[in-house]
């Protein structure tokens, strides 16, 4: 059972990579990330805040990760529906959730390239590479972030199945989550009433830890913060699993599997 589920996940993963190969429309976030990095860096350097260059490098990369994962991955079901393949996918013996997870994971994995891009642009603009003082923390945080992102992208995918105007949801959700996720402004600097909701967004823990991994100052409570990302990620998976089950049952009941 586990082996078969793993096979469906890897099948979904490789299939998605194949679908994305040589198709720039899947990579729009990766195209805009270097431009955003350059803009943020220019602003911070003009304000003589060299101490904030790490924010300018990580912010656009996190935005790209969010956009590719939640927007592109969240749209996977909508794409299947429009392509007329959703019914056949649901009717196949493969666990739909496993295939979807594999595909989302592929998108999230590819989106990590935004960190390389932003780091390279940071080097080009400032003339020195942004130093990675704690590579282990960086690697662990990125890994957990991608996994957590895949879980929450699954939640979004379910919402998009039910909504006819999925893109409106995407646009409406992005900016509030950039704020709550502390991608540019750390959660600690948000107004107090926003700090608690921000703590429930795994991205806020991720962005703080990623900045800590670049900073020369000692990083505190690393395990606890990694655990927070993991717990919130698992919450995403559980919610996605429940929602997907209910959503598929609902569309089979309403007969809207082939259309919203």
């Amino acid at each position: 059972m586990m082996r078969q589920t793993w096979r469906f996940i890897t099948a979904g993963f490789y299939f998605q990579l194949r679908m994305m190969r040589g198709k720039p429309d899947w990579f729009l976030a990766l195209i805009t990330a270097p431009l955003s990095t350059a803009v943020f860096l220019t602003i911070f350097l003009h304000a003589e805040r060299q101490d904030l260059t790490a924010y300018a490098v990580l912010g656009p990369a996190l935005i790209a990760l969010w956009q590719m994962s939640l927007v592109t991955a969240g749209e996977l079901i909508t794409f299947e529906r429009e392509n007329g393949t959703l019914e056949a996918l649901v009717a196949a013996p493969a666990r739909f959730s496993a295939v979807l997870f594999g595909r989302i994971l592929a998108v999230c994995g590819v989106s990590l390239f935004a960190f390389v891009e932003s780091w390279a642009v940071g080097w080009a603009v400032t003339g020195r590479p942004e130093s990675i003082n704690r590579p282990v923390i960086l690697a662990a945080t990125l890994l957990l972030t991608v996994l957590a992102m895949a879980g929450w992208a699954g939640v979004m995918a379910c919402v998009f199945v039910l909504a006819r105007s999925a893109r409106t949801f995407q646009n409406a959700l992005s900016y509030p989550f950039f704020v709550l996720g502390g991608v540019i402004v750390p959660e600690a600097l948000l107004p107090e009433w926003l700090q608690w909701p921000a703590k429930l967004v795994f991205l806020s823990w991720s962005s703080d830890l990623l900045r800590a991994s670049l900073s020369a100052s000692p990083a505190t409570n690393v395990s606890l913060r990694l655990l927070a990302i993991a717990i919130l990620g698992v919450a995403g998976y559980l919610l996605a699993a429940v929602l997907l089950e209910r959503t598929l049952r609902r569309v089979r009941q309403t007969g809207s599997l082939a259309h919203a």
């Binding site: 679908m19 392509n83 007329g84 393949t85 056949a88 996918l89 009717a91 013996p93 089979r252 007969g255």
Partner: protein, 326 residues
């Protein structure tokens, strides 16, 4: 009770759209024996595709029961999915940017095959549907008929004992359609059960062991093509060949005056007169046609097209179906 390949009991399915309820299937009962090809015939919106979708587990019944090889499509979904291959025809339903081989390999993976097995299966199936030399071509460049053939190959990926083919030959050229009939015959000989929806009566007559006429969500006739033809009508079809237009009009006037045919039709292009005549009037009609000097005549029981038109050519309120032409 013996295990039928497909058993449908009192199946009802309705859809609610903006407060209005439309009944797509209204108490359908159907039973298919294993290893047979069954045609589901009816006009657009009759409920054929809805029935296929319920059997394919992608749509839930409002009430009633559907079993595939004894497994319930609602409560035993996983088992049903392992025992069916589906083909929802049309332009969509394939990954256009991927090649035909990549499409099939993905579907092989969805049916639990290992990569090597999937690769070999894709090659075999592409050969089987006549796309062996187009395996590396992106599907978006395929013609409609080629896409239909790839749909068929996808349906065969499961190697399932039952196949649900929803209008599988739409857009196929005559050669492909003939090949499809041969393929269905092979599937029957392999012992598979096929449920086929189609508008092509010649195709249904050629490949189906049994047919069901469905309209307005209800079954209005079922049986073998031969029994359905008898069930539907006691008329016969007479075709008079090589009759140019003025003579055709005269011949029809003669026949109508003698109150012999129930339906008449002149085909200018093939210069034929097509007549539908009650069984007891075949002899006098033939005699009259011969007396009028026409000896090139064929007579046959009505084909499925004629039966279809007789059974489904009119709506329940008596108005004619179809477009307002002529």
């Amino acid at each position: 009770m013996s295990e039928a390949a497909l058993r449908v009991e009192q199946l009802r399915r309705s859809f609610s759209v903006r407060g209005c309820t439309r009944v797509a299937l209204d108490g359908i009962d159907l039973e298919l024996n294993g290893g047979t090809v069954h045609g589901l015939l009816g006009p657009n919106g009759a409920g054929k595709t809805t029935l296929c979708r319920i059997a394919a587990t992608v749509l839930l019944p409002t009430s009633g029961r559907v079993q595939v090889f004894g497994k319930d499509v609602v409560s035993d979904t996983a088992a049903v999915r392992r025992s069916i291959g589906i083909v929802f025809g049309g332009e969509r339903g394939l990954y256009g940017r991927l090649t035909a081989t990549q499409n099939l390999r993905f579907w092989c993976a969805m049916y639990g095959m290992k990569r090597r097995e999937g690769r070999a299966t894709a090659v075999t199936l592409l050969d089987r549907v006549g796309l062996g030399d187009r395996g590396d071509t992106p599907v978006e460049t395929f013609s409609r008929g080629m896409k239909q053939r790839l749909h068929l190959a996808r349906g065969l990926v499961a190697d399932a004992p039952m196949l649900l083919l929803d209008e599988p030959t739409v857009g196929m050229d005559p050669v492909s359609a003939r090949d499809f009939r041969i393929l269905v015959d092979e599937l029957r000989r392999e012992g598979r059960t096929v449920l086929l929806t189609t508008h092509d009566m010649a195709e249904a007559q050629a490949v189906c062991d049994t047919v069901t006429f469905i309209d307005g969500g209800r079954i209005i006739g079922s049986g073998t093509p031969a029994t359905v033809r008898r069930l539907a009508t006691a008329t016969r079809r007479i075709v008079v060949h090589d009759v140019p237009e003025p003579e055709a009009q005269q011949l029809i006037a003669l026949l109508v005056e003698a109150d012999l045919p129930t339906q008449t039709e002149i085909d200018d292009r093939s210069q034929t007169v097509n007549l539908t005549v009650p069984g007891e009037k075949v002899e006098p009609a033939m005699a009259l046609i011969l007396r009028a000097g026409h000896s090139s005549i064929t007579s046959a029981p009505p084909d499925l097209t004629a039966v279809y038109l007789e059974m489904l050519g009119r709506r329940a309120d008596g108005t004619e179906r179809g477009m307002q032409v002529g």
